[in-house]
């Protein structure tokens, strides 16, 4: 046994922080590495030591085996944990770590290599009696494809070296197969440098169920039950849970046994995940083995009470797994949602920006694994996942509601997120019934964004207007102890105008003698209820750090408010609203004469080259203005007819004076 005293984490973001927690509990000094854009990242701040990686792209930094090993040498690390992604499933990295005399926190390089190729993995699994789908292997030069007798349409073409949905194609008719195969080959070559593809039956309405396994040097192999990952978007999982809502104990035992068999046949060590595809009848087949810690591992930790990273470190140190299969039981239900910086309404495209605020709620039994903090810059270079949020509860419904509530109560500002999508998915009847499948987003009408109610908008603009006034009042450089806009005589009510989702809304407010405010809210679209002014009496209670209660006609709304420049965020139990405060002094609108050409500067007109009615080509000379002994030529910007001439030769003109009106030819 070799205890790990100094652990280098070859990763970033939330997983680096998560590994840090367990490593520190195990008494290991934590060494971080970081790309230049991560210099201020939380995973670096939390480490005991950190080493800068030179370069900017992932390939130059977190994927650069040489730099990472050099960092380990320099810091005296005795072990390396790869996290997930990046180098975690590169057999050559594992080999290099071991060759450098360090402990590799992961499976043996041979197991990684064997599982990295889907075709060879399937072959190996069938020898161990693990159920696999029939396969049509495709060479690189095959031109005719005959489906084996046990395979019927529809089928799916997959890249053998693939993952993440790349090089994957579903085919429903035989005549489409050749083209699909060629397309998949092209993609496979482009993404993985290996054009090998294969065909297997496509299981409609399938669920992906994965079994967490652990194996140690002492011959112990255990499984930690399953995780179910039914909600995806863009072929990536966003909501995962444990246990599966559809598996019964018998299936669970059968799949657990298959997973253990898979681990044994590959001589596995450490933590891994065996993925199965399950059809609606409950029949299951091997898909692949992920030879790393999964993103969604916390749901397993929640329901089993074990710390998978601790087990990884123990196994890597040569110690046995700290429990036996029979010690494990499933306790309650856990659901994890992945919060991404992305815009669901724009096809879930990644979003960027600076997190002006990142404050997760402190609800009990909700775990936040995040790689960001207030002030973090979310760029395009790394994965746009902001956090994983895990709720654990006695029942699945409670877990879903608890998770949705926690997400709603998160304060995240400055970056567009998929929060509203996650909240609506978690509350969707199909998800709550446990029937959601991989095409949940496409097949249901789950909301991608929230449409705020008028009442909510009225409350939000009221809150922003009154918080704005109270901020200004407390910042007054003179007369600081007088109430806001206290006055004698008569003045119009104060007002603030906001743009909210295409609507322009004005809040008029007047402080009353009892420190309440008379509010009148007007605006909105023509056929909008807000077009009728809403009048009420409001009172603002502030509780520091952006927390306010707005009492409107006796009804209190709890809100959290933040503002930066002209942007306001108002978060209530109904969700977060972004308001844009319009400037008090809008830029003047100078009505320009259509087609009018003006003098570029003050001078004397020395030549008028056109007459009324002249048709001019673009670039043709219209007039010459002389100023300070320099000639300035006024040229036609487009094809048109001179309809007005406002200067004659010898005229003094001032800069900005109208000279010629040129009506564009259509």
């Amino acid at each position: 046994m070799t205890p790990i005293r100094r652990l280098l984490i070859a990763n970033r973001g939330e997983i680096a922080r998560r590994i840090t927690r367990s490593a520190r509990s195990a008494g290991a000094v934590v060494i971080a590495v970081y790309a230049p854009s991560d210099a201020e990242a939380p995973h670096v701040k939390e480490a005991d030591l950190s080493i800068a990686l030179m370069g900017s792209t992932a390939a130059d930094t977190y994927l650069d085996i040489g730099q990472i090993l050099a960092a380990a040498r320099e810091t005296g690390a005795d072990a390396v944990h790869p996290g997930y992604g990046f180098l975690s499933e590169r057999a050559e990295f594992a080999s290099a770590v071991l060759a450098a005399g360090l402990i590799w926190v992961g499976p043996p390089p041979k197991a990684i290599a064997a599982m990295g190729d889907k075709l060879s993995a399937k072959r190996l699994m069938s020898t161990a009696g693990v159920p696999v789908l029939p396969t049509l292997e495709i060479g690189t030069s095959d031109e005719f494809y005959a489906l084996p007798p046990d395979m019927r349409m529809p089928v799916i073409v997959k890249a053998s070296a693939g993952g993440g949905g790349k090089g994957m194609r579903v085919v429903t008719a035989s005549e489409e197969l050749p083209e699909a195969i060629m397309g998949a080959q092209r993609e496979a070559r482009a993404y993985f440098g290996d054009p090998t593809v294969f065909v297997e039956p496509y299981i409609a309405d399938a669920r992906h169920v994965e079994i967490q396994i652990l194996a140690d040097d002492h011959g112990n192999v255990v499984h930690c039950f399953e995780r179910d990952c039914s909600i995806q978007r863009r072929h990536q999982k966003v909501i995962e849970e444990a246990p599966s809502p559809t598996l019964d104990d018998k299936q669970r035992r059968a799949m657990g046994a298959a997973a253990i068999a898979a681990a044994v046949v590959t001589d596995y060590r450490g933590a891994g995940t065996v993925e199965f595809v399950v059809d609606p009848s409950g029949e299951f087949w091997f898909l692949e083995v992920n030879t790393r810690l999964q993103v969604e591992h916390p749901v397993t930790e929640a329901v089993t009470g074990i710390d998978l990273v601790r087990e990884q470190l123990q196994i890597a140190a040569g110690l046995p797994i700290s429990f036996a299969q029979d010690d494990l039981a499933i306790e309650g239900h856990a659901i994890e949602a992945r919060l991404y910086a992305e815009d669901p309404e724009a096809g879930f495209l990644p979003a960027t920006g600076t997190l002006l605020e990142w404050t997760p709620p402190t609800d009990p039994n909700v775990r936040w694994d995040s790689g960001v903090e207030t002030g973090s810059v979310v760029g395009v270079e790394w994965d746009p996942m902001l956090a994983k949020v895990i709720a654990h509860a006695p029942t699945r419904t409670e877990a879903a509601l608890r998770l949705a509530l926690a997400l709603s109560r998160l304060r995240v500002r400055g970056v567009v997120t998929n929060r509203e999508f996650l909240v609506s998915a978690l509350g969707h009847p199909q998800f709550l019934s446990g029937q959601a499948t991989t095409d949940f987003v496409r097949s249901t009408s789950v909301a991608l964004a929230r449409v705020p109610s008028h009442k909510e908008i009225v409350t939000a603009v009221g809150v922003a207007a009154l918080v704005g006034q109270s901020m200004r009042v407390s910042a007054m450089p003179v007369l600081a102890s007088l109430p806001g806009r206290w006055h004698t005589g008569a003045l119009p009510a104060s007002s603030t105008t906001f743009a909210v989702g295409g609507q322009i809304i004005t809040v008029y407010y007047e402080r009353q003698r009892d420190d309440s405010f008379a509010l009148t809210i007007t605006g909105g679209l023509v056929d909008d209820p807000l077009s009728e002014p809403v009048s009420s009496t409001a009172r603002l209670h502030t509780y520091g750090s952006g927390s306010v209660h707005l009492e409107i006609d006796g009804k209190r709304t709890v809100a959290h408010v933040a503002c930066q420049d002209s942007k306001w965020w108002v978060q209530t139990e109904q969700g977060d609203l972004v308001l844009e405060e319009l400037p008090r002094f809008p830029e003047p609108e100078v009505p320009d004469i259509v087609g009018g050409l003006r003098a570029p500067l003050s001078g004397i007109t020395v030549q008028v080259a056109v007459d009324l009615g002249t048709v001019v080509q673009p670039g043709e000379l219209l007039m010459v203005i002389e100023a300070m002994k320099m000639e300035h030529r006024v040229l036609a910007p487009y094809l048109g007819t001179v309809t007005e001439l406002l200067a004659v030769t010898g005229d003094h003109v001032a800069g900005g004076d109208l000279l010629v009106v040129l009506e564009a030819e259509v």
Binding site: P477, W486, G489, A490, F585
Partner: protein, 547 residues
């Protein structure tokens, strides 16, 4: 923070008399609110709508945009012109407000009232604006849109001749406002004009004498003589824009320093100009904790009876005006009809002089001493008036009441710290003088709706006149017609009463306006803060005290 004792209270706001007083006060306030609303309505909603339809703003919206958002605004004399032949409010908005963090005097013409033409009352308001700027060193901002002098003849139907005989105004005495604008500049007080419309003939000197001029394109019209006058004088044909348009002045004559494309931009430019002044207040403070009084200012509504018959414990007023109701009283056992002591209002230290009855010799001497003490340490004075006058009668005359009253008037006349006066109730005769009335270089004078200001009480005045009439009749041996005498007596009293009321005084611009008693602390606080833009310095010498 001052450790002065906190005043106690004996007010029972629920007592029948308090409730009755409060109802009567609320009626007076409603009456005043209606007058303020009438003044604010200017030329009426149709005129405001016409303005708006041309992309222009009503005057109070211009003022509101000029001020920093959510900052306080102390409008002065909002209903000047009340009970006169002139428009209520006089088509001029005058006040003290905060622009770019700087307290400024703002004066603005209302173009919906006679096109902003200046009447006798509006000139009074503009002159007052200039005086406030001068005395308190406040930057001066005017929003100009004025047809010029009011050329109409007053007194139609009565005969112009009678009107002319009565009027003592003459053109030769006009134009003082132009003198005063440039005098501000010479004293280092910046002057800013924003011209929204006409500012012609004499009015052209309003921007002419200003330090900074902002003209609105297509709206500002500034010339000595308009096209008709030019035609008459020189035969030249011309138009408004070429004679005095904003673009011409910004690019040719140089009269305009800033050319704004619209009213919003002009106001924004004025705010930028004030911002670059980097104005520093010359006075200290606020230095004290500005916490609200511990006693409810609402109670102030129930303290005074409209007929001012019942005595009022003025400490109950002080307890609802000064910070934290803290009041360190001076000589509480001596000259008890005047209450003197130290306190602060919105953090500004003040010496308070407040009446608790008629002024006797000892009270006058106490006041004179207190004024000198405040001057010694540069502390401003707050006068709370409820005074029927100095005591009369043989014993008092023999005791030197004139001499002692003169000591107090000497002290306050030569006092150089700022004085702010609030007339709560009675303000009769020499009592008005001794308690720093308007004529005694008082920086600000405000009235409660219950204020009555006159040479003496209406009943006393009517009674005195009656006695004089009876004396005359007696000397001539004529028998007094008691019925006629009673009627005349009543008429005189009624007339004197009407002339003594706050709404009459404020209509004449004889003060800075009527205030809601509950606002007293804020009004005084703003006035004091304005005063502290100028150095606050006590007198180094007084007139010879007649001892």
């Amino acid at each position: 923070m001052s450790a002065a004792p906190v005043l106690d209270t004996a007010v029972d706001a629920q007592s029948p008399i308090s409730v009755a007083n409060r109802m009567a006060m609320l009626d007076l306030l409603a009456e005043h609110d209606a007058l303020v609303a009438a003044a604010a309505a200017g030329g009426g909603p149709a005129a405001a709508e016409r303005l708006r339809s041309r992309g222009r703003l009503p005057v109070r919206e211009r003022v509101s945009l000029l001020l920093d958002r959510d900052t306080p605004w102390l409008e002065l004399s909002p209903i000047a012109g009340n009970q006169t032949d002139f428009a209520i409010g006089a088509g001029v908005v005058l006040g003290i407000g905060v622009i770019s963090g700087t307290e400024c005097v703002v004066v603005a013409n209302d173009p919906t009232v006679l096109g902003g033409a200046l009447t006798a009352v509006s000139i009074r308001k503009v002159e007052r604006a200039l005086q406030v700027a001068r005395e308190n060193r406040l930057p001066y901002v005017q929003l100009v849109e004025s047809a010029g002098g009011d050329l109409r003849r007053m007194g139609a139907g009565e005969g112009a001749a009678a009107e002319l005989r009565r009027s003592l105004d003459h053109f030769a005495e006009s134009g003082r406002i132009f003198h005063d604008i440039t005098e501000l500049s010479a004293r280092g007080i910046p002057t800013i004009s924003v011209v929204f419309g006409s500012s012609t003939a004499g009015g052209a000197y309003q921007p002419g004498m200003s330090d900074y001029n902002i003209f609105v394109r297509g709206q500002a019209k500034v010339f000595l003589g308009g096209p008709p006058l030019v035609k008459m004088a020189t035969g030249e044909d011309s138009d408004d824009e070429s004679l005095g348009g904003a673009e011409m002045h910004a690019s040719v004559s140089g009269l305009a320093d800033y050319l704004a494309d619209d009213e919003h931009e002009a106001i924004r430019m004025a705010r930028d100009v004030v911002d670059h002044l980097h104005w520093r207040k010359s006075g200290p403070g606020p230095t004290e904790l500005a916490n609200p009084p511990v006693h409810d200012p609402e109670d102030l509504l129930g303290l005074f009876q409209l007929d001012l018959r019942a005595p009022v414990e003025v400490r109950e007023v002080i307890a609802r005006v000064v910070d934290g109701s803290r009041f360190e009283e001076f000589k509480p056992g001596y000259g008890t009809t005047i209450v003197c002591g130290w306190a602060s209002v919105h953090g500004f230290p003040v010496g308070v002089l407040a009446n608790n009855g008629v002024l006797f010799s000892d009270a006058a001497q106490k006041g004179a001493q207190f004024i000198q003490l405040c001057n010694q340490v540069d502390t401003p004075l707050l006068f709370l008036q409820n005074i029927t006058g100095f005591m009369v009668g043989r014993d008092y005359e023999r005791g030197g009441i004139i001499k002692h009253g003169s000591q107090m008037i000497n002290a306050l006349s030569n006092s150089t710290v700022p004085h702010v006066t609030v007339i709560l109730g009675a303000s009769y005769g020499a009592g008005n003088y001794g308690m720093s009335g308007r004529a005694f270089d008082t920086r600000f004078v405000f009235l409660w709706p219950t204020a009555k200001i006159a040479i003496m009480g209406p009943k006393q005045l009517a009674g005195v006149m009656s006695l004089v009439r009876r004396g005359q009749a007696e000397r001539r041996g004529i028998k007094v017609d008691e019925e006629a005498e009673a009627a005349q007596n009543e008429a005189v009293e009624e007339f004197a009463e009407a002339m003594s009321l706050a709404v009459y005084a404020t209509g004449r611009g004889a003060d800075d306006g009527i205030i809601d008693p509950r606002d007293t602390r804020h009004v005084v606080g703003m006035a004091l803060s304005a005063c502290h833009n100028a150095p606050v310095k006590g007198a180094e010498g007084f007139g010879v005290f007649r001892l």
